[in-house]
Symmetry: C2
Subunit: 416 residues, 2 copies
């Protein structure tokens, strides 16, 4: 980046930069997926709201029913809520935090009503924005629902459901290892290393363009069986997106249906989502369950609210209460502590959700570049946020996010 001006949230505003404006856009405003630009900042500030234009997608249908009501009780006092960013001396206002994190949209629900809804750049209430690993929490919830119904045995080996993985590193992993990311697999989630596991995974998926002469796997289901084991299963939490692809494979096998259709039938339709969502797929038509969901922000908030309400939403027990209990009680903090997340002290990970174990009982779904569902049960608050931060890893964003969420929870709890 030497010599280049550093862009902040305002100077990188994609509406101002004018990406993809014109018929055709001039070269300097075009986003070329063949160059991988759609996955590079600052292009991402536009592309994250338009992923279906770059990749094949499946419809996650909301069905034909009415949307579930999402009452509006907008307040103008919330921007002034202040918090102390981690590791920084000066307090920061909520609205400054939104800019600091390159927020594309935020919805705050308090007691089920929208108290703040804000969009930036080219993102609006109808924009399908990539949720990245927030997708995982939807898939983990589906898996917990299958366990609750006795159709999935968390103690069974992965290969009991997906024999194709018997000879891979997943051969002797259990479903629970996969759900809680405690597998031992030779795969790294380092986004800054182009030769890392996530890099090869992204090439197999087709999310990043394949170099000429590429002869690696060209679909998820061809890539996953090649993964080798490393270390032992069950020893420590290690965040690996491939675990969720395996979990998605298991769920699709059991349901006999594509994940996009399972999401529609079990989540999107019963929750009364207001918009269809897009699910990115590989070129073989396999849904990208580790990070490919593109919902509108309000629907992401609805999912968080359903979790806050113990699975009861839109007049029905959509997600069994036992499923929510299983998730919110969290995983083993000692497993989690072995991973290196200094900004997440005392947290744990269970069933594809992050659990804070803080005084508010908060739990959260997290995706790279700042995608978030943050549920604060004590404050009766849910925050859904889309963002396009230049840095993938949430460690770059947490400092001005997690304290802000907690402060907003404290404020709403005391001011309500």
């Amino acid at each position: 980046m030497a010599g280049k001006p550093i862009l902040d949230a305002v100077t990188s505003d994609p509406a101002v930069m004018g990406w993809m404006k014109g018929a055709p856009p001039p070269p300097e405003l075009a986003i070329d997926p063949a160059q991988g630009n759609h996955m590079r900042f600052p292009y991402t500030r536009w592309s994250f709201s338009h992923m279906r234009e770059f990749l094949p997608t499946q419809l996650v249908s909301r069905g034909e029913g009415p949307a579930s009501p999402l009452p509006r009780a907008l307040r103008d006092d919330l921007d002034a809520v202040t918090f102390r960013p981690a590791g920084v001396g000066d307090p920061m206002r909520w609205d400054a935090g939104l800019l600091a994190n390159f927020t594309d949209g935020v919805v705050i629900l308090h007691k089920g009503a929208i108290v703040q809804e804000r969009y930036f750049g080219v993102t609006g209430p109808l924009s399908r924005h990539i949720a990245f690993s927030v997708t995982k929490s939807f898939v983990g919830t589906l898996a917990e629902m299958l366990i609750d119904e006795g159709r999935l045995d968390e103690t069974a080996p992965v290969s009991a459901y997906v024999p194709e993985l018997a000879d891979s590193g997943y051969g002797n992993a259990t479903v629970r290892h996969v759900m809680d990311m405690t597998t031992g697999i030779d795969y790294s989630e380092d986004y800054t290393d182009p030769r890392s596991g996530i890099g090869a995974f992204s090439l197999a998926l087709g999310l990043t363009p394949r170099p000429s002469g590429y002869n690696g796997p060209t679909s998820l289901y061809r890539y996953l069986p090649d993964l080798r084991g490393e270390g032992s299963h069950g020893a420590a939490f290690t965040y690996r997106t491939v675990n969720t692809e395996v979990l998605g494979w298991i769920v699709a096998r059991i349901e006999g249906q594509r994940i996009a259709d399972v999401l529609s039938r079990r989540i999107w339709q019963p929750l009364g989502m207001e918009c269809d969502a897009d699910l990115l797929t590989d070129s073989a038509g396999t849904g990208f369950t580790g990070g490919g969901l593109n919902p509108v922000l309000r629907d992401m908030a609805r999912f968080g609210e359903a979790m806050r309400m113990g699975g009861r939403y839109n007049g029905a027990q959509v997600i069994p209460a036992g499923v929510v209990d299983s998730i919110t009680r969290g995983g083993k903090p000692e497993d989690f502590a072995r991973a290196n997340y200094p900004q997440l002290p005392g947290w744990s990970y269970r069933s594809q959700w992050w659990v804070t174990h803080n005084a508010h009982g908060a739990f959260t779904a997290r995706g790279i570049h700042g995608q978030t569902i943050y549920v604060d049960p004590l404050a009766e608050m849910v925050i859904a946020r889309f963002a396009s931060h230049p840095v993938a890893a949430n460690s770059a964003l947490d400092g001005a996010s997690l304290p802000a969420y907690h402060a907003m929870g404290e404020y709403l709890r005391s001011a309500s």
Copy 2:
């Protein structure tokens, strides 16, 4: 096809054949776009309802408003309506005609209410099915709206709006030539000739897979300027999809907005469409205005009904009455007669619509493989149909379609 069994509508039912079932689908049930299977019968019976899974698409948003009411007055007497297929001796029932034409879905509106709605195979009321050249009639209507507003001069040369085409065969064509398909361009619409104009067009668009070593244009806006003239403009009707790509370019330039967004703002939102639509794009993000719209069937019917009502629909004059008048009065039958459509005697073509000039004043939007909006003003009837007939050219379908539509109009008119 020698030696292969001939599949009919029943034996090619895509739900029975099981395309794309399984995680992953076994090779014999997979549809591989890299092989072009998504565009080949019988795969098309599945893929035509799932085009977004094979190609990049843009959202044509319905907005946030309520859907316009589409009353239901279903009748069970319509299947027995009989007609005499062109060139065939025996009368045929309406329901047999649906099978004969590999119908994926049909909606009949009479006086604005649904009197029949039927789906086949994997197509349902929420399926976005490719409309192929029915797309053209949407774009032609947008162009007429711009003329009505004085923002587009039909007598002006194309290059007045798109200077990039000044040196192409379109250099001295007028907007009206393009709208009415009376340009003289070295381009053939023969779907059975792989080296024809439509073949090269489809490669540039990316609709069919590019062979290795392909070094032709890779976007619509790079392909169109290379087209050369042939003969003279204004002499005869010659159906060429590239004319509509040029028209789409003109509309996008004038509106300063992508066609998907123009369609949303000017058609989808004001008509109260019930679902978003998908618009296929090339890899540069240019909407495929000649054939890339994928709406749900009821929304295609709504557009037909709006045209039947002189542009007034959903409580507003969405399309100016003068626009509908301009379209429905048709083009010059003598221009049309020079094209070889023995099954369409006395017809004409205007502003991307086909006008029958029959006693009912019927006019229609037509797409390959059987996509249709058929408006019969005298019978107060609109028929919207999706199909996946093995043959692209509508001449293969018209014999059991056009007489059926007319008979249904006669029946509804007399029986109501």
